[in-house]
């Protein structure tokens, strides 16, 4: 008797050991829908999309019987929407004005992961968002790129984003330098020169060719100054600019790689509404800023819909909500497109995401279903 028990025990132990030694296979999920938004922003019919773990494993692949199947008949699968200019979930503001040059400031330090603002954004289809410091400093620190959901269903910082530069009049203050635009441009030039010469290590990252810098440039003149600096010191930048697009677009054209336009509201003036189309027509890739939480949770879609009624092409408008903001934030290798190998950050819409009549049916972040409209726990995260 006892030797048999011992044998049974031993076999069990070995089996348990083996099971523990093997890593469990990542879950496979297949989303079945009618079409998806491809990397060019076009809506292309397909049958299903396969997710393995966190990653998009296949588009239009054959059905996998062992996979969990999420069916959305007639729906359109889009990359998760990305709002590249927000202060979502920020506690007490992002306005540190003690010094005009603060490259080490990190917006992530003001991030409140428990804020319910992020849930609202998630339900509107925003899976990635950027915390951008206020325009009060010439060099405002790092933008924080956040995922709206992650481990323990909590939002988290995905990656350190671009360096924020600002030529806004808000950066010219009375109680510290620079006090004028002249002084501001000069200080910025000296700072960039120091970085290039290697004498200021804090700005090394700016010129190392990571994410493009984000330059807040309210006036057309600010964009031109930024463009000169970019060629002189060798860095790429995205101009946060709407107002003078009719001048900047034609004159700079492809020299300006990226423009962040918005936020656009349902009653924005015509000049602002036309900016996106103007930039795109002259060779600058456009991202639409949502500006949350100052506007509604569907600000990004509203902005894209308004721009599309004023000259921005529909495919470019869809890219402006997804792929281009990902590139601007330096996470284009991780998310923003429906492409094998990228994170499965996806939103299932009842129709074209650019159509304001479409509803959000489900949201996946990193392959995990985090929101389903009208589900058993309707509206709440599972």
């Amino acid at each position: 008797m006892r030797p048999r028990c011992l044998l049974a025990f031993a076999l069990l132990a070995v089996a348990a050991g083996r099971a523990a030694a093997q890593t469990p296979a990542p879950p496979t999920v297949q989303i079945e829908a009618a079409s998806y938004v491809d990397p060019n922003g076009a809506i292309v019919p397909f049958e299903r999309l396969t997710i393995r773990g966190e990653i998009i494993a296949g588009i239009g692949a054959a059905a996998d019987e062992s996979a969990r199947r999420d069916e959305y008949p007639g729906a359109v699968v889009s990359p998760g929407l990305i709002d590249c200019y927000t202060s979502l979930g920020v506690r007490d503001g992002l306005n540190e004005r003690s010094d005009a040059v603060q490259p080490l400031l990190d917006a992530a330090d003001a991030f409140d992961r428990y804020s319910n603002q992020i849930t609202a954004a998630l339900r509107a289809g925003v899976t990635t968002f950027a915390l951008v410091p206020e325009p009060s400093n010439l060099v405002g620190g790092r933008v924080a790129v956040c995922q709206a959901s992650g481990a323990a269903r909590r939002p988290h910082v995905l990656r350190e984003g671009p360096m924020l530069l600002s030529l806004s009049p808000e950066a010219f203050l009375v109680n510290r330098e620079p006090t004028s635009r002249q002084g501001g441009v000069d200080l910025l030039r000296r700072t960039l020169a120091a970085a290039k010469a290697g004498t200021d290590p804090r700005l090394k990252q700016l010129l190392e060719g990571g994410a493009p810098a984000m330059l807040i440039a309210p006036a057309g003149a600010d964009v031109f100054v930024g463009s000169e600096f970019a060629s002189e010191f060798g860095f790429r930048f995205a101009a946060v600019h709407t107002r003078d697009a009719h001048v900047v677009g034609p004159q700079l054209g492809g020299k300006l790689a990226y423009a962040i336009v918005g936020p656009l509201e349902l009653d924005s003036d015509v000049r602002s509404a036309r900016a996106a189309g103007l930039f795109e027509r002259h060779g600058t890739a456009v991202a639409i800023a949502g500006g949350m939480p100052a506007g509604p949770a569907d600000s990004v879609r509203i902005g894209a819909a308004v721009a599309a009624r004023h000259g921005l092409g529909v495919s470019a408008a869809r890219r402006a909500m997804t792929r281009v903001p990902a590139e601007v934030l330096g996470v284009g290798d991780l998310t923003g497109q429906i492409k094998t190998g990228l994170l499965a950050d996806l939103v299932v819409f009842s129709g074209d995401p650019l159509d304001l009549r479409s509803r959000v049916l489900a949201v996946y972040v990193g392959g995990r279903l985090v929101y389903k409209a009208g589900g058993p726990k309707a509206g709440r995260l599972p």
């Binding site: 949350m292 509203i302 650019l354």
Partner: protein, 489 residues
């Protein structure tokens, strides 16, 4: 005197010939753009959304003298008609924005209690760029309110968007509704809503008293005149009674008029004074029969305007953006028996059943909600408000609300967004076309049907579809906007 010579027969013939040649010369003129507007117009082969739920594919619309004369798959175009091929396009009625400050010169709004202020006077029909921008979004008619910060405001107007139009053309209805705002959110004190409502009730009561005063006055005036007439008839017998009356042939009626009328007292010692004394004496004697002309109450146009609401001539538009303010407006309307339209409407979804039972229409004109939590004005805004209200049986409409100078009312996108948050698409389109026209009491607008006014918009796609663009806008059959390629069209 010069006599013109008799015309010879040959001269008559040559006159006719000249007339004929003249006509021939004029005919090509009918092709000129200005004159072209006078010709009948046919829009051909479009997908027509009639505004009241019907879609007609491959239809043509015939327009003559500012009206739609025919709609259908086959429309006979008269000889001189201009034809516009609208194949692949959508045609809708001109959109109607039911509450917008678009085009208004805003300078702090009308003060409380000025019920006579008219929004029509503040509409800037010269803001042609702005008007063109609105036409480019398909909006052809707007209701502009006279919004007070709180309390009673002025009268709102219905205005057509015609760039460079004449005032009579542009203002369709000068006094469409009276405005009332219940808004305690910008208050400086805890009892602000109570104060606001008290003020309103005071004004309403004041209007009722004003009417009672006038009715009493008119009654008294009638009695007074009857008495005068009676005394005039009885005059001969009364003359004998008065012994002290020196002017025997004078009518006592006239004497008492002298005593009580507004004439200046004659100086003492004159013969008139004697008359006056006699008349006074007469007064003492005839105190019982004294005929006093009633004093006319002052005219109060504010009260008169409010009374038109009670009489059902003028609609009351109540703006409220929290559930308690909405409840207060509903109570007020019931109390005074006013026909009410609720505006703003943030928080109305929480009172949906009550509003439905009261059969009060709601014009949702509050701005969209914000993600940031805020108390006060933004607290009750909801993107699905229209859907919730419609499901409860409330008639829901849309207005773009506060639109500043330079901004553009994108009514179609506002309605499309409501569809995305649960409102039925046909209801949404009707709410900005046919039903909107009905709410304003302008049934000749808002529909594509024979006999209706030719306010039409030609779109590149369904008005709610992404990237849809307006290509042509007609108001009363006149082309007021044609896409000019300014946006890469």
């Amino acid at each position: 005197m010069y006599q013109p010579p008799l015309r010879a027969a040959s001269a008559v013939v040559s006159a006719r010939y000249r007339l004929f040649v003249g006509l021939l010369a004029v005919l090509p003129g009918l092709a000129w753009p200005a004159a072209a507007q006078l010709r009948p117009l046919v829009l051909q082969n479009a997908t027509v959304l009639t505004g009241d739920g019907k879609t007609i594919e491959g239809a043509s619309i015939m327009i003559n003298s500012g009206r739609i004369t025919a709609v259908g798959p086959r429309v006979d175009a008269p000889f001189l008609a201009r034809k516009v091929d609208a194949r692949g396009k959508f045609v809708t009625p001109g959109l109607i924005d039911l509450h917008t400050t678009f085009g208004l010169v805003l300078d702090g709004g009308t003060g409380g209690g000025l019920a006579t202020a008219a929004a029509a006077d503040a509409f800037n029909r010269f803001a042609e760029d702005d008007i063109r921008a609105a036409l480019r979004q398909g909006v052809t008619t707007v209701y502009v309110p006279a919004r007070p910060p709180t309390g009673v405001g002025g009268v709102g107007a219905v205005v057509r968007l015609i760039p460079g139009g004449e005032p009579n053309d542009v203002v369709l209805k000068r006094e469409a509704a009276l405005h009332v705002t219940i808004d305690a959110s910008n208050s400086q004190g805890p009892l602000q809503r109570v104060k606001a409502l008290t003020e309103l009730r005071k004004l309403m009561r004041g209007a009722k008293e004003y009417r009672e005063n006038w009715e009493d006055y008119l009654e008294e005036l009638k009695e007074y005149e009857e008495k005068l007439a009676k005394e005039a008839k009885d005059q001969p017998s009364e003359g004998d009674k008065t012994a002290t009356n020196p002017a025997g042939d004078r009518k006592p009626g006239r004497a008492s008029r002298v005593a009580d009328g507004g004439k200046a007292a004659p100086p003492p010692g004159t013969p008139d004074e004697k008359k006056r004394e006699d008349a006074k004496g007469e007064k003492k004697d005839d105190k019982k029969d004294e005929i006093k002309k009633p004093a006319q109450p002052p005219n109060d146009r504010n009260a008169a305007t409010i009374l038109r609401v009670f009489d059902g001539e003028l609609v009351l538009r109540g703006e409220a953006n929290t559930p308690s303010d909405i409840a207060a407006v509903l109570d007020l309307a019931i109390e005074y028996g006013a026909a009410l339209i609720l505006e703003g409407g943030a928080g109305a979804h929480l009172l949906a059943d009550r509003i439905a039972a009261a059969r009060v229409p709601v014009v949702l004109s509050a701005p969209p909600e914000t993600v940031a939590y805020a108390a006060g004005p933004t607290e009750f805004r909801r993107a699905d408000a229209a859907a919730v209200l419609a499901r409860a049986g409330v008639d829901v409409y849309f207005g773009t609300g506060v639109v500043s100078a330079g901004e553009t009312p994108r009514l179609a996108l506002l309605a499309a967004r409501a569809v995305g948050h649960g409102l039925d698409s046909d209801k949404a389109l009707a709410a900005i076309t046919s039903k909107a026209a009905d709410l304003l009491g302008l049934e000749e607008l808002g529909r594509i049907a024979p006999g209706k006014q030719a306010d039409l918009v030609v779109w590149s796609d369904h008005p709610f579809a992404p990237g849809a663009r307006v290509e042509r806008v007609l108001v009363s059959g006149r082309e007021v906007f044609v896409a000019d390629g300014a946006e890469g069209e």
